[in-house]
């Protein structure tokens, strides 16, 4: 039986979060009432002319540098023509023959193994408006707020082989655009969009099979599921002696399948030609250098630094490096307490768990790095136990007080005094004849009973290490 491998390339569109549009002065902010972020250029009024928003180029160069691309010194804008109500000018200003960035790559980690995905090109283009179809009325309405919003299109080489690789690549891209501050990476809201091109071929074959384009993938999960389905579908077709039709398919989440789009009568001829209203974009080396200088550390560099310099465990490092905000928080905490592994571990468990439980964003945590650092210092110095520390943290979230305020107010300091603890242990032993007998009989499991009782007696404040040591001593004496 022939074994097949999948060949996948992804085309990702990212909405750049500049204040105004690519060629027009209107705002790019989402959520405004329909057709309020418009101006003559956005509306495609007669006589309007495009003017390039240079901040968009800054953002695109940042992304190009972060993905190891060559930035073209000279790139051009071209008009891509088609008729649709949400395309006001009847053409989209894009880049075709000469894109801004080319020939880059991204190294992606999947299960701690790195694979490289080539980046063919990154180019600038305008977004279209939104069409909403009203079934009850057989009509459509158009909102042009989104028309002219700047997009970058990131085209990968067909270097991806599995759906999981595709998901990992998408996640890494999302991390990077958020780190750079050029895009908020929100797939549900459409600021990050993915189309996949997938074909299969017999293992060992170097020629590419017929590729199918899949659209409407607006989450990482959908990307992975759609690819799994499509790869299996194509293999089955070929195994039954059929041929793959080159077409565009949509992911149907309800049916968990890709389905063919209604085929158009003719292929679109976009009649590309250089836009005569825009001179060529010239990017001199000093422009690139300025951006390179201000380029923030990338997620992969942060992960490496965390692991090598701070000795943080790789999976914890990855979790912390997944958002710029976490890294910044950690670094700020580290200004007060330099125990990186402690910070990393407690952020990874305590902090993320809280965010999940409360279903809130990191930005809404409400616990300053200084306060978090203070809590960690109390734990590190054994002033409070880890278990108490967890409770204090919850209290910090709900009350907004600092750790030391809470510890003081509730008298939560850890009891490490051997005299006090010995007394407590002796009391427990004295009132637990049955369990003591079990211990003497060799039942190791009863240990946790004693520990639990001591904790109860000391209201959880007993220093676990001291308890363990003393308890063993005293039990052995029995």
């Amino acid at each position: 039986m022939t074994h097949y491998e999948a060949v996948i390339g992804l085309e990702v569109h990212a909405q750049l979060s500049t204040k105004s549009k690519l060629f027009a002065s209107s705002s790019t902010e989402s959520g405004a009432p329909a057709n309020t972020h418009t101006d003559p250029v956005t509306l495609g009024l007669p006589g309007c002319l495009p003017v390039l928003n240079r901040q968009v180029v800054d953002y695109a160069i940042k992304l190009g540098l972060a993905t190891n691309c060559k930035i073209r010194r000279h790139s051009t804008f071209e008009r891509k023509h088609y008729f649709y109500p949400d395309l006001p000018k009847g053409y989209q200003i894009s880049q075709y023959a000469e894109p801004l960035c080319e020939h880059g790559y991204l190294d992606v980690l999947l299960d701690q193994e790195s694979f490289r995905v080539g980046i063919t090109r990154i180019h600038l283009e305008e977004d279209a408006g939104k069409s909403i179809h009203l079934d009850h009325d057989q009509s459509s309405i158009v909102d042009l707020n989104r028309a002219g919003v700047p997009l970058v299109e990131i085209v990968s080489e067909p270097d991806i082989r599995t759906s999981l690789q595709a998901g990992a690549y998408m996640r890494e891209l999302r991390k990077i655009v958020r780190y750079l501050g050029v895009c908020d990476g929100n797939m549900e809201q459409g600021s990050l969009r993915c189309d996949a091109n997938v074909s299969v071929r017999p293992v060992g074959e170097s020629k590419l099979g017929t590729k199918v384009e899949i659209k409407n993938l607006n989450s990482f999960r959908f990307v992975e599921k759609a690819l799994d389905f499509e790869i299996a579908r194509q293999i089955e077709v070929l195994q039954h002696g059929g041929e793959i039709v080159q077409e565009t398919r949509l992911w149907d989440e309800a049916k968990s399948a890709t389905k063919s789009m209604r085929s158009k009568e003719m292929a679109e001829d976009y009649r590309y030609f250089p836009d005569p209203d825009l001179p060529p974009l010239v990017v001199e080396t000093d422009w690139i250098d300025r951006i390179a200088q201000d380029l923030p550390e990338l997620p992969s560099q942060v992960e490496k630094r965390f692991v090598l310099d701070y000795g943080i465990e790789p999976s914890v490092a990855q979790a912390l490096a997944s958002e710029r905000a976490y890294v910044d928080y950690l670094e700020e905490v580290a200004e007060s307490i330099s125990n990186y592994t402690l910070i990393a571990n407690w952020m990874n468990t305590l902090l993320f768990a809280l965010l999940n439980r409360q279903n809130i964003e990191f930005a809404d945590l409400g616990i300053s790095p200084q306060n978090f650092a203070e809590l960690l210092k109390l734990i590190e110095s054994d002033t409070i136990s880890g278990a108490i520390g967890k409770k204090v943290f919850e209290e910090m979230f709900t009350s907004g007080e600092s750790a030391s305020q809470i510890v003081k107010r509730q008298g939560l300091e850890q009891i490490s005094d051997t005299g006090e603890l010995q007394a407590a242990i002796e009391e427990v032993i004295a009132s637990s004849e049955e369990q003591v007998q079990q211990w003497k009989d060799g039942k190791e499991k009863v240990w946790s009973f004693f520990v639990g009782q001591v904790m109860k007696k000391t209201k959880g404040k007993a220093n676990p290490q001291v308890v363990n040591q003393l308890l063993r001593e005293l039990l052995d004496k029995e």
Partner: protein
């Protein structure tokens, strides 16, 4: 006809400052002339009488207060080609598809003339979307030449040219993509200038062919061209093709025109432009004008612009290509005409554009789509752009080594009769054979009247200068104009 109507704009300026007459009088006189003559000429599509008189009133107050410190066009009437957006005043491009379109903003050039204090009389007729050489392609009827009502005024700025020649306005704004200012100027015995590409902002000028279009001044004498050009030239950040170069005082520069002749002005005579079949009636006044320039001290130089013979073909590939793209926005969705009771989206698009566009516009859209389409792009569009480079180089070489100004006829004929060239589009296209190369090269050029043919119809001489040398152009034209006698208007 009131004597006021015969004055040049510069003379009107003097008269207004001296208090010889008011702007209100001046404006009313012009409005009366329009009322008297527009039904015959059809030069104005819209007359903004009320606002004109309001502006004239304000101008009179400003003139009283500031005199010659007032902005340079204060109180002077001007006609605006209906291809330029005027806020709150319909702008139709002489097309049904924009018949009721009211723009929410002014073109930069319009705003500038308003800021300069001019009194806008209304919007003038043109060939639909500036596509034509006779003003017979308007959806609202042709314009007639004041010199002979059976003849065309030229196009596409026919309405503006006719308004000047008939005394309806002393100044007008036109647009020139392949000769649309210069050729009608020559047909109507008026003056018209197309600036260097990028000298005047295109923001708010409805786009026909983006790499060729320019707004330019039209008037009855060279001084007036200089006056109006100064008002509209300059950098505009809203136009990415606008040149960020200082604007000289063109009017003042005419004072030193004499120096130009004495300093050995070299005039290039391109042999290819005289080999083509020009009527002898045209060649005579042109040769005579050139001889006058020589007698003033200029040197004549024989030059060759060999690639100019391909200019018409190049133009009729590039201009329609850009037009097909620029006119894609007229789809009935957001503004303009929309077909009624469409069955579906395709039906709406097809019927809207079918009903809204005239034949010549459709013709050029079809050509444009063809030359941009896959499989034909390289053979047509790309090839045409490459030949365009050679045309540019021809001029460049001539200007850098041989001459300061190039002269040629503005048109191969004088004003032809209505209907004479509408049967075969190619015949009409040939009308622009001398003006088109200039747009392809982005050079400044003007036309001024230099004589008449045996029927008494005006003949125009074209002068072409290197990029951004409007000063030299105007000075040379001014020198010649002083030597020629030509009635400034034709009364009807």
């Amino acid at each position: 006809m009131s004597e006021l109507l015969k004055l040049s704009a510069c003379q009107m300026r003097q008269g207004l400052i001296s208090g010889d007459f008011s702007s209100t009088e001046l404006t009313q006189a012009h409005l009366d002339q329009i009322t008297r003559t527009n039904s015959q000429l059809n030069s104005f599509l819209k007359v903004t009488e009320e606002s004109a008189l309001e502006l004239a009133k304000n101008a009179d107050q400003l003139l009283k207060k500031s005199g010659d410190m007032s902005p340079p066009l204060t109180g002077i009437p001007i006609a605006v080609k209906d291809m330029l957006l005027t806020k709150d005043v319909t702008t139709t491009c002489a097309s049904r598809i924009l018949e009721n379109f009211i723009p929410p903003y002014d073109a930069t050039a319009v705003k500038l003339v308003k800021d300069a204090g001019a009194v806008i009389l209304g919007k003038t007729n043109l060939d639909e979307f500036a596509m034509g050489s006779s003003n017979e392609n308007s959806a609202f009827g042709p314009v007639r030449n004041p010199w002979d009502l059976d003849r065309v005024p030229g196009g596409s700025s026919g309405g503006s040219a006719a308004s000047l020649a008939s005394g309806q306005a002393p100044l007008a704004l036109g647009t020139d993509t392949g000769g649309s200012i210069r050729q009608p100027a020559s047909f109507t015995g008026t003056c018209g200038l197309k600036p260097t590409y990028g000298r005047v902002s295109r923001y708010g000028a409805v786009a026909f062919a983006s790499s060729l279009d320019q707004i330019g001044p039209m008037a009855r004498c060279i001084q007036d061209l200089a006056l109006l050009l100064s008002a509209i030239a300059g950098y505009d950040p809203k136009d990415s093709t606008s040149l960020n170069v200082e604007v000289p005082d063109y009017l003042k520069s005419l004072d030193s025109a004499q120096i130009l002749a004495k300093s050995g002005l070299r005039i290039g005579i391109p042999r290819e432009y005289f080999e083509v079949g020009i009527a002898p009636d045209i060649e005579k006044p042109i040769r005579s004008a050139i001889a006058k320039l020589e007698s003033l001290g200029a040197t004549l130089v024989d030059i060759s612009l060999p690639t100019s013979r391909h200019a018409l073909a190049v133009y009729y590939i590039l201009a329609p290509a850009e037009a097909s793209s620029n006119l894609a926005r007229y789809d009935g969705v957001r503004y303009g005409h929309r077909a009624t009771n469409p069955q579906n989206l395709s039906d709406m698009y097809e019927r809207t554009r079918q009903e809204g566009f005239g034949d010549e516009v459709k013709r050029r859209i079809l050509i444009g789509n063809y030359v941009l389409s896959t499989g034909y792009y390289d053979a047509y569009y790309r090839k045409a752009q490459q030949v365009r480079t050679l045309i540019i180089e021809d001029f460049s070489k001539a200007f850098s080594s041989d001459c300061d100004i190039i002269v040629a006829p503005a048109a191969p004929t004088t004003a032809f009769k209505l209907g004479e060239k509408t049967v075969c589009p190619m015949e009409m296209y040939l009308a622009d054979i001398f003006t088109i190369p200039v747009n392809l090269a982005g050079l400044p050029a003007l036309s001024l009247p230099c004589g008449r043919d045996r029927n008494g119809l005006p003949v125009g001489l074209q002068m072409i200068a290197p990029p951004l040398k409007e000063t030299t152009l105007l000075q040379a034209a001014y020198l010649l104009e002083q030597e020629l006698t030509f009635p400034s208007t034709h009364c009807i």
